[in-house]
Symmetry: C2
Subunit: 266 residues, 2 copies
Amino acid sequence: MAKERSSGAGDPARTLELLWRDGATVPASRRGPRQGLTVDAVVEAAVGLADEGGLDALTMRAVAQRLGVTPMTLYTYVPGKAELLDLMLDAVFLKMPRTASGVDAPWRERVTAVADENRALYLRHPWLAELRVHRPPLGPGVMTKYEHELGAFEGLGLDDVTMDSALTHLLGFVQVAARTELDARAVDRESALSDEEWWAAHEPLLERMFDAERFPLASRVGEASAVAYQGLYSPDHAYAFGLARVLDGLAALIPADPPGSVPQGQ
Amino acid sequence: MAKERSSGAGDPARTLELLWRDGATVPASRRGPRQGLTVDAVVEAAVGLADEGGLDALTMRAVAQRLGVTPMTLYTYVPGKAELLDLMLDAVFLKMPRTASGVDAPWRERVTAVADENRALYLRHPWLAELRVHRPPLGPGVMTKYEHELGAFEGLGLDDVTMDSALTHLLGFVQVAARTELDARAVDRESALSDEEWWAAHEPLLERMFDAERFPLASRVGEASAVAYQGLYSPDHAYAFGLARVLDGLAALIPADPPGSVPQGQ
DNA sequence: CCCTCACTTTGTACGTTGTATAGAGTACCG
DNA sequence: CGGTACTCTATACAACGTACAAAGTGAGGG
């Protein structure tokens, strides 16, 4: 069995050809019976399955069933599950909606648009947040997304290396924020206990164990946060707060930052 | 089979008692044969296994074998794997080294110490980065860590809710940074292809597919980054860059920030 | 025209996972 | 000393990715 949740294990050449596949590349004359499916159909079925039930629901057997085919048939189209995940990633990157902010738009607006697009992408395809991707599949989707997002940092006086770092930093933030939000949702869905019920079940016992004098800050701040959002955690607030922090952090790098800007420390 | 990588599924009361277990709580007189192990021993074995081989190596069978016991024996000590993960998390949180920065130290220094501690923790226990934890186990480790880390934000003029948000934001950043670094290492270890070999295998094919005119920014910036660090990615740089951004972002929230400033009460 | 053989599709099988279930052995309490 | 609450073990199940081999299909070469 291959390692789960890793990606891009197999033959690089084969994977690249699949990533950049287009109708024209088909050899047009094959020996055996014509294929009843297409790589696109397989990828689409897989994405649909993962969208609905997460990575746990994405099994080769399930994909095959959705396509009306036996599991092993998939291996004619795709080398294995790891490569299928690469194709899925590239596919959703390629198709994601991109805000066309002009180069004349304020940089905070442009960068915010990139963050929002990515957050929306994670919320539409929750399995993306579970994926591990070092050495991302270098397909058209990944490239198009990278090209587009770098655009938000172009013309700000950043050198090329810093542009890349800044983008990575921004996307990293969006990823944790989305992951936290999605984890919270997943727990709600799976656990049969709502947040309130969970607290109700924990509180009496916790009071026996927990010494408020031993953890003064934790009790004070924990209490205040629990009151502020009527629960454990507010994803929208965390995103808004974090994005503002990221923007202010980047602002310190950007030479001229005309009116409306927030003063920087230090 | 239970959901993988989720945590805290079982009976809350039982889990809480396990988290806050101490020698004294043992009833001292039990009916059957004395237990040959302890919960601590199980947790320690599990942590050791996960440290060495990641979450993939952490199987109930492997833990049992390390303890010289059959797999099902573990279920006398621990309700299931999810709860074991909770106990592992709390245990390493409790034992992690904590820098004792005085309240008089500059806030950037204190916050940096918290970030560094957490990065070190992830690097020592890579499986932490793979874990999903919404509704964290409310054990002594989690509480102690939270209490300690809030201290870095105390006396800066932030209200309680903002202190919590700031800490969450900081820890989120450290987590992505660590995860990215660990993913990179894992790929290097598993893939039998070094980064250079991987590039060498991809480049010729990529040049056939990839149109530099279609992705001008991507080629320029990608090239520059690849040259700057002699590879795909430099974890140390990403961490340093990101931490600086986070600190600057937080600075915008903190009222007075002169060098060597005295913390002000709220 | 038909045979050959590359190719698609399928069925079966293996090793691995967490843990349900049932049985066997042990030692304290009444 | 017997009953019983407990520990530990053995076996079993369903689900996973996919190796392997057999069966079916249809275009190209003679």
